[in-house]
């Protein structure tokens, strides 16, 4: 709330034909906002319930917090109304050329244009990130946090690209994508702990299993459309999670599976002994070798996902996906087998989810059903939608913003000096995440990157606005 009350200043500003500012109305409006905020805060914020020693709930009043919140909303609304009134007054004086017509956002604006330079820059940073982290923090061991964060972000980039096949290209809304992530993770965890198979054998198998599950779950549900499909996929995702929790003999139940074999460098383990990775290359041993290897592993996996998607878009099957998203009835009348087309998209998306899942298992060394709850699905879907459905680079940017952004909250320790001791910004991570999803939908429903490059061109390659791209029915 930077500018609390610029309203009087504007009212006093000399303007020839400017209509007088309705200060009383604005103040009344802001007061109404504050009143509603007060109603929302009572009693959920005003009283905190705490368990006392006698195990009965006690109430702790927090009227100060309510007053602060109401005050902030009042001032914020005041500022917003004043800014809007100022803008409107300025517009009234200088009529815009297209005032009578609706705003048509057919051409993406400059800020949204991803220039040819952005892509190599992005790739370059991704490829040299561990090096940058080591140089930035001043040591191999110190860079661990950053490389781990990079791995986390890249995992979500890969999941986003995998889901992008289903949601962005084929236009099928999948709210249970995390189920395939879970299938991949548990495939690797179970195969490696019971049969002792190595990661490189299990990785394709995990993708295969996940793809198979995509087919099994996809086949009955793909005749559904829109929100119904979303809900059924959500139900399947939850069923798989609940079965993993309850089927003790198979999956270890809620405790999960631990001591999963760690990743090896194509058979060479990252250990400190003689035939370990460091000893063979004559390097001093560091646990960071494994982390950096994992980083490049997930980078490679993500890039493979991206390349396969880009190639598939040019194949008949990929064109059929996009045609399906644009108009399902036209597709059917042109002889495209819609069920098979949807099923391939679903299974391929699931397969990449499975690859990512087995990577997750090998990275963590531990899997439990709690890692695969609905929130994960929602985060992945949010990444795809916020990135601009169908835009590969948009998904990558959204993953950095949505996963890396909340992570930055952990570093805001100085805030506890402002808000008092015991203030943990990390608590607000998901709260802000939910808020960001709502605000993004209001501010830019088409995602961060709202331009698309068509997969097929006649004469010259042009970029088109995302407003022309449909989001599918299924």
């Amino acid at each position: 709330m930077a500018t609390p009350a610029p309203a009087p200043a504007i009212a006093a500003a000399p303007a020839a034909a400017r209509p007088p500012l309705d200060v009383a109305g604005i103040v009344r409006d802001a007061a109404l906002f504050a009143l509603v905020t007060f109603g929302l805060c009572v009693p959920i914020i005003a009283f905190r319930t705490d368990l006392s020693e006698t195990s009965a709930l006690g109430l702790k009043p927090r009227w100060g917090l309510v007053a602060i919140l109401c005050g902030l909303v009042f001032l914020g609304r005041l500022a917003q109304r004043a800014v809007v009134a100022n803008r409107d007054a300025r517009r009234a004086l200088t009529p815009a050329p297209r005032q009578a017509t609706e705003a048509v956002d057919a051409t993406p604006n400059a800020g949204q244009r991803v220039s040819g330079l952005a892509l190599p820059l992005f790739l370059g940073v991704a490829a040299t990130f561990p090096l940058l982290a080591v140089l930035g923090t001043g040591g191999l061991g110190e860079s661990r946090y950053w490389v781990d964060l990079g791995i986390l972000i890249l995992t979500y980039v890969m999941l986003g690209w995998g889901l992008n096949i289903v949601v962005g290209l084929a236009g099928l809304l999948d709210l249970g994508y995390v189920a395939f992530y879970a299938v991949g993770a548990y495939s690797y965890a179970l195969l490696s702990t019971t049969l002792g198979w190595s990661f490189w054998v299990c990785l394709p198998l995990a993708g295969l299993f996940a793809g198979l599950w995509g087919m099994i779950l996809g086949f009955p549900v793909l005749r559904l459309r829109g929100d119904y499909l979303a809900i059924v996929t959500l139900a399947f995702g939850e069923i798989i999670r609940l079965v993993l929790i309850n089927w003790q003999d198979f999956s270890g139940g809620g405790a999960g599976i631990s001591s999963i074999p760690r990743a090896t460098f194509f058979g060479i383990p990252f250990t400190a002994d003689e035939d370990g990775f460091a000893a063979r290359l004559g390097l001093p041993f560091s646990p960071m070798h494994r982390v950096i290897f994992l980083y490049y592993l997930i980078l490679a996996l993500a890039l493979v996902t991206n390349l396969v998607t880009l190639r598939l878009r040019r194949l008949p099957i990929g064109r059929a996906w996009e045609a399906l998203r644009e108009d399902e009835i036209a597709c059917r009348s042109l002889g495209i087998n819609t069920t098979n087309t949807k099923l391939t998209a679903f299974a391929l998306g699931a397969m990449f989810g499975g690859f990512a899942g087995s990577f997750f298992a090998v990275r963590q060394g531990f899997v439990s059903p709690e890692s695969f709850n609905f929130l994960e699905s929602a985060i992945i879907l949010a990444i795809v939608v916020l990135g601009g459905m169908g835009s590969q680079i948009g998904v990558a940017i959204a993953a950095v913003a949505m996963v890396g952004g909340p992570e930055m909250l952990r570093n805001l320790g100085f805030l506890s000096a402002v808000f008092g001791e015991g203030f943990d910004p990390n608590e607000y991570r998901l709260l802000l995440f939910g808020l960001a999803m709502v605000l993004m939908m209001i501010w830019r429903p088409r995602g961060l990157i709202s331009e698309r490059s068509p997969s097929l061109v006649l004469k010259e390659r042009k970029r088109i606005s995302g407003s022309f791209v449909k989001e599918g029915h299924g």
């Binding site: 109430l59 609940l242 609905f374 949010a382």
Partner: protein
């Protein structure tokens, strides 16, 4: 036999709670065709409002009559939750009307995540128990093996309150101008607007009514289970949505019927099969109904326009 009768009573109690939540889903879907994903969390929030109001009344104001306290709690929770419902619609859904199809759903998921974490931040992550109330039971009859079929006061209150409120709600929707406008918007929003109905106001009203009924469900849930936590919105929400789909989405009697069926299935499944898989049963019903009977029991089949 006695076990069956007991489970029937328990199932109907649980089913009335689900039915109350399901009405909120079915009304919103009927009028703007969106799944209000945050409805389950509105329900959870209302249970917290009820809990805090109850504590204020009993410990600070010293109201000793549980019945009077419950009545006040019910009214306060309904009013405040309705305000939440109104605000959510106003902030998160109304600006998206006419936007692309996925936007409201994503926004609703965002609201759902926001609400559950908001409650976690402001009230803490631990389970919140209420002091025991209305533990008395009426023994209906005792079987030969000594198994007593009991109906607790709580269950009587829950079923009676649900019945009374549903009757009132039914009157509101069927016999008042507000309800008429609401039904008109459900059938054809554009036509209703041409005939002079304030569509935005009617949609707001739908959210207010849905949240109000969710608050009744939240209060009853608190009374029945005696404990609530910030994560309690998701699963009851999905079950209530299942009830709405099972009854035929868009149909009000269908929502109540679906709620009762889901409640009965859940209790019988827990009693006769396994309590661990009761949620799996509910989710499976959701999937099976959507795949094989998407228009539900009382719903109208959707006609695909070419």
């Amino acid at each position: 036999m006695e076990v069956f009768a007991q489970q029937l009573i328990n199932g109907l109690t649980l089913g009335s709670i689900y039915g109350l939540i399901a009405i909120g889903y079915t009304m919103v879907f009927g009028i703007i065709g969106m799944i209000n994903f945050a409805h389950g969390d509105v329900f959870m929030l209302s249970a917290f409002i009820a809990l805090i109001t109850f504590l204020i009344l009993t410990t600070w104001l010293g109201i000793s009559s549980i019945a009077l306290a419950l009545l006040i709690v019910l009214v306060v929770a309904m009013v405040l939750t309705a305000l939440w419902g109104w605000s959510i619609e106003r902030i998160a859904y109304r600006p998206l009307r006419g936007s692309f199809r996925l936007a409201p759903l994503i926004s609703a998921i965002g609201v759902s995540i926001f609400l559950s974490n908001f409650v976690q931040v402001v009230q803490g992550a631990r389970n919140k128990p209420t002091p025991p109330m209305m533990r008395e039971v009426i023994v209906l009859w005792t079987g030969e093996n000594g198994y007593a079929v009991a109906l607790s006061y709580r269950q009587i209150v829950i079923m009676a309150v649900t019945a009374v409120l549903l009757a009132g709600f039914w009157y509101l929707v069927q016999r008042t101008p507000l309800g008429r406008a609401q039904r008109a918007c459900e059938q054809d929003r554009k036509m209703a607007a041409l005939l002079g109905i304030d569509v935005d106001r009617t949609i707001s009203l739908t959210f207010v009514l849905g949240a109000g009924l969710a608050a009744v469900a939240g209060t009853m849930y608190l009374l029945y289970y005696g404990v609530v936590s910030f994560a309690d919105g998701f699963v009851p929400g999905v079950k209530a949505f299942t009830a709405a789909v099972l009854g035929g989405i868009g149909s009000l009697p269908g929502a109540v019927l679906g709620g009762l069926i889901i409640g009965l299935v859940e209790t019988f499944w827990s009693a006769y099969f396994s309590i661990e898989y009761k949620d799996v049963a509910a989710f499976s019903i959701l999937a099976i109904v959507l795949i094989f009977m998407p228009s539900g029991i009382l719903g109208r089949p959707e006609v695909e326009k070419v």
